[in-house]
């Protein structure tokens, strides 16, 4: 082979790595979930192929959010320096890495005008992560179908078939969903929203009162002559719910306009039908409070009605899905509850609800929560399918309480995934304590095991944030206990230590 031809083959292999074939693991997707899964597998030495239909890394951030600014913060100036584990709580948008040079990649890519990165900054951050961490992706390779052959999954693509014992789908929750309301053909979905100035002087009707609906209303307030936001249930605010489930503070302006009677209207009503006529569109609704009909004359209707997981033919293989978003039913480790060996990474993980204490969901639908879920999932895959053994360092009894309280004060996993991920210490034979690392709280409380203690962060029904402690004795966790809150969330105090040791009787010596 000539040098030129050899170089050409090498270059093609780099541009199109992971040719079709047999791999221990196949990862589908090159958004944050796929990149994080691939990174952890690579770090743990698990050979795998990554394929993606997209031409470059980034997933949904190659296109969304529509108004080009994220909802998740990356604060350049924080109590902890960039590149540290503790800084991850202040940087929701960088993916996780062990090497300092691959951590905190977002802050230097942001122009400093906002702590919320722009969409292109986020896309650049993900692309930089893939490049710097050496994640090789076979782009322009679309997953088309899936089948089984004995204990192997077969992922069919236009380039050929991939066979693997374990397959990880990281395909996001980004397939537009619109209800089948009569006249829906006159409705554009959020993803088809046009450039803002094209709505100049228009009367807009937005179906949906969650963040995407309020994002559109905020972005179009300047342009539209009137905006109506409607859905059956009242809107909720994140500041009232104490979680990201409600409308974020950044999108509250339309709400204030509505309260002041300023040309934006928020209706609680179900949409019955939509009719187009020569002067515009009539939206027929029925009010949720009194059942009375209400009609709105508008120029355009946009459905901000959400997204589904694009799971293709997986249900034909036996994957059970549920809910509006058609999320797969999963175990606490993001494995399909009905098809063993099939895992899900990224925001699809929001299908694993966890304990949802006081009704507050985890942040699994966003990068800052999903990145930890995905790391947990990839480590579980390595442990259960490939013999990877997790290190469980010994912790001295006299250090255990301080260790747990430091985790409660600073661990980004516990703050990003409140009441969902926890730090655990187990008591082994001879009474030796071992650090179990970051664990799924639901798995810890339900799966039995040696005597152990786990600490997490929870928000209660009053909005107070405090550490919560779960103690497993004789294989069972019988209840939870809250430590006192602290105005500045500092739990490394003598009083908290005393409280924790009292709860840890029989697990931590000296308690």
């Amino acid at each position: 082979m000539t040098n030129r031809r050899r170089a050409s083959v090498a270059s093609t292999a780099e541009a199109k790595p992971h040719p079709p074939g047999d791999y221990p693991v196949v990862v589908v997707g090159s958004g944050p979930g796929g990149l994080q899964a691939a990174y952890v597998l690579k770090h743990l030495g698990i050979d795998h192929a990554v394929i993606s239909a997209d031409p470059s890394p980034g997933g949904m951030f190659r296109r969304f959010p529509f108004f080009q600014r994220l909802l998740s913060w990356t604060k350049p100036h924080a109590p902890y320096p960039q590149k540290t584990r503790e800084y991850e709580w202040y940087d929701w948008n960088s993916l996780l890495a062990v090497e300092p040079e691959n951590r905190s990649l977002m802050p230097p890519l942001m122009d400093g005008t906002s702590e919320f990165p722009s969409r292109p900054e986020m896309e650049a951050g993900l692309s930089a992560f893939a490049g710097q961490a050496g994640i090789r992706i076979r782009h322009d390779t679309r997953w088309e179908a899936t089948s089984r052959d004995g204990d192997r999954f077969i992922v069919h693509t236009a380039d050929g078939d991939y066979r693997a014992k374990v397959v990880i789908f990281a395909v996001g929750v980004a397939q537009p969903w619109t209800p089948s309301t009569p006249g829906v053909e006159h409705v554009a979905h959020y993803v088809d929203t046009r450039e803002a100035s094209s709505y100049r002087g228009k009367r807009l009707f937005i179906i949906g009162k969650q963040n995407s609906g309020f994002e559109l209303a905020s972005g179009l307030l300047h342009w539209a002559s009137r905006i109506i936001l409607a859905s059956p249930r009242p809107a909720t605010l994140s500041v009232n719910l104490h979680s990201l489930a409600g409308v974020r503070a950044r999108y509250v302006q339309p709400w204030e306009d509505s309260n002041l009677g300023g040309g934006c209207f928020i209706l609680n009503a179900s949409i019955e039908r939509i009719e187009r006529h020569e002067d515009g569109i009539t939206v027929h609704t029925r009010r949720s409070d009194n059942g009375e009909p209400f009609m709105a004359e508008v120029d355009e209707v946009i459905a901000a009605t959400g997204f589904q997981a694009p799971l293709g033919d997986l249900t034909e293989l036996g994957v059970t899905v549920f809910g509006q978003s058609r999320l797969p039913a999963m175990t606490n480790f993001y494995e399909s509850a009905t098809v063993p060996g099939m895992y899900f990474a990224g925001t699809i993980g929001q299908g694993v609800a966890g304990l949802k204490k006081f009704g507050i969901p985890a942040n699994s639908g966003a990068v800052h929560g999903a990145r930890y879920n995905t790391r947990l999932m990839a480590e579980h895959v390595a442990e259960t399918h490939f013999g990877w053994v997790r290190e469980r360092p010994v912790i001295r009894h006299e250090d255990a309480a301080d260790f747990l309280l430091t985790e409660a004060t600073t661990a980004p996993e516990l703050w990003n995934q409140k009441s969902y991920l926890a730090r655990a210490i187990s008591r082994g034979s001879g009474g030796t304590l071992h650090d179990e690392g970051i664990v799924s709280l639901a798995d810890f409380v339900d799966s039995g095991g040696p005597d152990a203690i786990a600490i997490t962060i929870e928000t209660d029904d009053t909005g107070d944030i405090h550490p919560a402690v779960y103690v497993r004795r004789r294989g069972r966790v019988d209840g939870d206990a809250r430590l006192d809150g602290s105005p500045l969330h500092e739990y490394r105090t003598t009083a908290h230590r005393r409280e924790l040791l009292s709860l840890a009787r029989g697990v931590i010596r000296g308690s």
Partner: protein, 139 residues
């Protein structure tokens, strides 16, 4: 299920039998659908901050100190007692097979019942029946 299917499912459950379509739609948007694997605990004895659940599909076991005390199935609900009393559940609720349920958080239940007194009345009837049966067993 998508929200339209949830509305249809709710319409078929006795707890929601008195609601009109717009109210059912509001309810469908208020509850969230959750899925549980066989053997998974949904309510945990002694844990604070639990929610209210309505079973859409599947069956659960009511267990006290690990002993099976009762079974609940499609259309049944649980979790309301600990929310109303502000106390942790006195039983585990464990999925016997794959379970689909609708979930409403504890803090949201009060507002939902006040907005939908017909559901509150149906819930009272059900709780009264449970109390009657418990008294019968006690005798």
């Amino acid at each position: 299920m998508n929200q339209e299917e949830v509305v249809d499912a709710l319409a078929g459950l006795s707890l929601f039998a008195d609601l009109r379509r717009p109210q059912l739609e509001a309810a469908a948007h208020t509850f969230s659908e959750e899925s549980f694997a066989p053997g998974q605990r949904i309510l945990r004895q002694g844990f604070q901050g639990t929610g209210f659940y309505v079973i859409l599909d599947g069956e659960v076991s009511v267990q006290i100190d690990g002993k099976d005390r009762a079974r609940l199935g499609k259309g049944d609900f649980f979790g309301e007692m600990s929310i109303l009393l502000g106390e942790p559940p006195v039983a585990d609720i464990v999925a016997l097979g794959a379970l689909h349920a609708l979930h409403l958080s504890g803090p949201e239940l009060q507002g939902f019942l006040q907005q939908n007194p017909a559901v509150m009345y149906r819930m009272l009837q059900s709780v009264a029946r449970r109390l009657r049966n418990a008294n019968r067993w006690g005798n």
